[in-house]
Symmetry: C2
Subunit: 336 residues, 2 copies
DNA sequence: CCGACCTGTCGAATCGATTCGGTCAAATAT
DNA sequence: ATATTTGACCGAATCGATTCGACAGGTCGG
């Protein structure tokens, strides 16, 4: 069943059917009605491949996700979901490509085979070869996170430095003197993972500016590491009264260790940071935190669509600083 | 840059280039070498749309995920990841379609527009209109979970009834007399969600067979509901010494409530169930549980590829019963 | 009353691949 | 020496849409 079949049944030429569908030329009301009736009856829809071939666009965008996808954090997952839904709203399909290191067959296939009109790249490293690859391929793309030299690329990111600094200020306002940052793993920092790096520098600057005592800790992305991290903290830095974290995967472990130690949040210890809203709300007690904005996916899609429509326009970028949502995990420093 | 360009540069016809690429006809070694050199130099790859149009297949599979994707459980997420990676290994791309209820534009587009060679459908209801839609469309598909009348369809599922029964037997062997099932939400059971229904019936049967006392509880898919559920349990059924659950989203809340109540697992309370391995390992203490098999995605892709290759073969299905992994959350019933 | 203009429609070219049938020379068989 | 097979390649048709130029018939103004 193709456009020719529709044309035959409606007694018109193929081009007339096409123009009825696209509206790019006038078609008389009567003819339009007849054609539409046939289309509805047969449930016709243009063949995507034929259309893509002729039009030169696929109405599909690529979403490149980390390969060891089992370890997607809740925030990343939320991002994927919001991209998919935003794309669906714009009548676009989403092609998934798991690729980070050498898994790049799928990445290459998508680019060189012209399977997508544009690409959203997540989990960007400060040095990222995929960006240079996309640039030479001349395919529109948007990165989530930005490289060391982001000029000329279109990106969207969360301003971890500012957010972590805000968390520190918030805690300072509550009278906390000694604050710890629970960062992502040491490996990721070494690998030049932007959020971890920027969180660390934002933390250090805020601590210095306010003349407080800061402790920076790295922590693996799992609950066990989180629990270990809290135990280590209690042993080595007993004067700490507040925690800032960007490591949501470790949070359940932190919470467990806290419960086990009989520490009451926020009476004995304040906890805040940058995490997915769902994570913050599901925590006990609900976490005062800068929620990772769920609309990031939507905005990434918008930015990409702009980029596809006008590839030569100067690239825009967005640096998001969502407000801190006050919930129940921070309070005045207890006087010891 | 297209196949004609390659042909021109290599001084051959387009068909010769095509045959070199596909190997479907003999091409002399010398010519092949020359063509390959040009291809490598220019980094040529066939246009996916043109190829799909001519061949009638897209080398893409569709994965239909639940629309409120923010609520994907870890097990579902693991499944998506394994599908994507298995597909990548088979040089297939994956097109995502968020669709459950009326969000079906993307679902329809994928099917009628012939954008995919086959579809994997997850989160199947006992009555599922999408299955009938796919059947009339004549598109190969595999469902994760099965409908009330699964004959003639190709599916893969976890045998919740048997697994839950095994958990009950395991607990009975340890001397537990009163066992509770923490199921999914009442809404899902009402909606005819297979796993919840089958878990309940497997539980009831095992309890009856062994002559034990069983309590069936519904619980929302979030930590707060899990905590509330445990509190309710302690209040209304204080004699319970063991929990079986298939609700992994509620587990963190259950764990928190347990810690808070000073209950020691497994000394005072045994916990087991059917959850994603990662979830079981990350729990404290690590959960003795039937791990949701991570290879489900791989097998779903295999099944789908079979179905695409031989659409008329009798549909196969797989009912998986992964073994219970003994970890640290179950022990002998304490004598009270 | 005739050329200019508009409306609605059609035919044919095009996108970039695959594939069938045909051709031509060299190799082999009769 | 002629007929037949084989190997290597080419040309053209094809997949299903879009789109441009052309054209018929009607309306309008001068």
């Amino acid at each position: 069943m193709n456009i020719g079949e529709i044309a035959r049944r409606a007694g018109v030429s193929r081009s007339t059917v096409s123009y009825t569908l696209s509206g790019k030329r006038a078609v008389s009301a009567e003819t339009r009605r007849r054609i539409q009736a046939v289309i509805d009856e047969l449930g016709y829809r243009p063949n995507a491949a034929a259309r893509a071939l002729k039009e030169g666009r696929t109405r599909t965008i690529g979403l490149v996700i980390p390969p060891a996808s089992l370890r997607l954090t809740q925030a990343q997952l939320g991002f994927v979901a919001s991209v998919v839904e935003a794309a669906a709203r714009a009548d676009l399909d989403v092609l998934l490509s798991p690729s980070g290191g050498d898994h790049d067959r799928s990445f290459e296939r998508i680019i060189t085979g012209r399977r997508v009109d544009g690409i959203i790249l997540m989990e960007i490293r400060l040095q990222d070869e995929r960006v240079t690859r996309l640039r030479t391929a001349g395919l529109p793309f948007v990165t989530i996170g930005h490289t060391a030299n982001p000029d000329g690329t279109c990106w969207i990111d969360v301003d971890y430095a500012t957010l972590v600094a805000r968390c520190v200020h918030h805690l300072a306002d509550l009278g906390h003197q000694t604050i710890v940052l629970i960062n992502r793993s040491a490996d990721m920092i070494a690998a030049g993972y932007g959020p971890a790096r920027r969180a660390a520098s934002g933390f250090d600057e805020a601590i210095a500016e306010l003349g407080l005592t800061g402790v920076s800790l790295c922590c693996g992305d799992d609950p066990a590491a989180g629990a270990a991290c809290l135990d280590q903290l209690r042993a080595e830095h007993p004067t700490v009264t507040a925690i800032v974290t960007i490591n949501e995967a470790a949070l359940p472990g932190v919470g467990r260790a806290v419960e086990r130690a009989g520490i009451v949040v926020p009476r004995d210890l304040s906890i805040t940071g940058v995490v997915a809203r769902q994570w913050a709300e599901d925590h006990h007690p609900p976490l005062t935190a800068a929620d990772m904005p769920t609309e990031m996916g939507t905005q990434a899609v918008e930015l990409l669509l702009e980029r596809i429509a006008t590839p030569d326009a100067p690239p825009r970028h967005l640096l998001l600083t969502p407000p801190i949502s006050l919930r129940a995990s921070t309070g005045r420093a207890s006087v010891r």
